[in-house]
Symmetry: C2
Subunit: 224 residues, 2 copies
């Protein structure tokens, strides 16, 4: 992605895909590490995710600049134009997802200061689902695969169900023992951050379907 | 914004600004109506906001298409290119803000089915602040005004303070009477949706500063 003008345009588009997949994999790793930090009460790992976000942000700015250069120098026609502008939006989504991983780690740092409320079972499952949705939404983009994009959108009901389940589990804890409330609410926030990551994956999937088929998909959540 | 090719490019950029401001004002109105629906327990108004979102979405797709046409037909140079790609991202933020107003109304519809937990004082104040941030972020964009954008970013601490205050008020209610928990959590979610709208306004402000000055502003939240 060094943007030498003598590269072929196809090669540049290929580089753009690779770069987005690379940032996507970094962001996925941040989510995974954030949940590991929660489970293992690992302050250093949480701090590392927060630190790494600057590197991810820098990479995203680089991708954005690369897209602008492609638009300016290559003046692409309809199909490539839509591909590049979609890449700009997906890159913007990835930046926000990175921020969510940071937010999770901030809550983890707070949670570690108190005894663990409960064993974490549903949250890691929810995180695994969300990571898969993110990975598949990016694969749907680079392979221009609307079927895979539709799978991502369907998987969002799993996330809603996880959220409901976590919500009720935490409510039960609060009901039984009021002293758990602030920890329960922090865990609830973490599940909401995961839900937002899933929302971004769904956004990406919708962009892919629109890019390939020109069909607008508007997914409306009915979450608790 | 009918995109006739005989229009001047300046005129088209002007139309683009007007369209974004129009969608922005519609979205602001949705936020205001959502909070009015909460305060006045007005199911019909909540339903109307949810319905109106389709219209807002359609307008956003139109703006997106218009930006693509400008990129394809006008092949703008550096400055205008950055303006248009920034408009694409802001338009994307506005769509998400519209979704948040819908989410608020869904929680309002649930809240109306139960007695009102408490008089709402802080939430409407928070909503007013958030609406102003949105309006000013869009004005900062159309007027290319980084000083106003910086004010928006600074105002975000007010939103964090409102969120903290609401969080503690609701926690106190839950502690006193466990039967209020589900209502308190719905209100907490509404305050989180408002926080997310503020985040989008901050995103827009950051985009404006980057567009005008080329400076990357990364705002990291420390919210509860």
């Amino acid at each position: 992605m060094d943007g030498h003008i003598y590269k072929s345009f196809d090669r540049e588009l290929h580089d753009l895909k690779e770069s987005l997949l690379y940032v996507g994999s970094r962001v996925e790793r941040s989510i995974a590490s954030a949940i590991t930090a929660l489970e293992q009460r690992d302050t250093a790992l949480a701090a590392q995710v927060i630190n790494d976000d600057d590197m991810i942000d820098a990479k995203e700015v680089e991708i954005d600049e690369f897209c602008l250069r492609l638009l300016a120098l290559r003046q692409p026609a309809a199909r490539d134009l839509r591909f590049i502008t979609t890449a700009i939006k997906i890159n913007y989504d990835l930046e926000r997802i990175g921020d969510m991983a940071v937010n999770i780690c901030e809550r983890v740092e707070e949670l570690i200061r108190e005894p663990q409320l409960k064993p974490y079972i549903t949250l890691p499952q929810m995180a695994t689902t969300v990571q898969l949705m993110l990975k598949e939404s990016l694969n749907a983009f680079v392979n221009e695969d609307p079927a895979l994009a539709r799978k991502v959108i369907e998987d969002d009901t799993k996330v809603d169900n996880f959220l409901d389940q976590i919500f009720h589990e935490l409510l039960a804890h609060m009901m039984k023992d009021l002293s758990t409330t602030s920890r329960a609410i922090r865990l609830l926030f973490i599940s909401k951050y995961l839900e937002r990551i899933a929302d971004h994956a769904v956004n990406i999937a919708e962009l892919v379907i629109f890019m390939v088929e020109g069909t607008i998909v508007r997914h409306r959540k009915q979450s608790s």
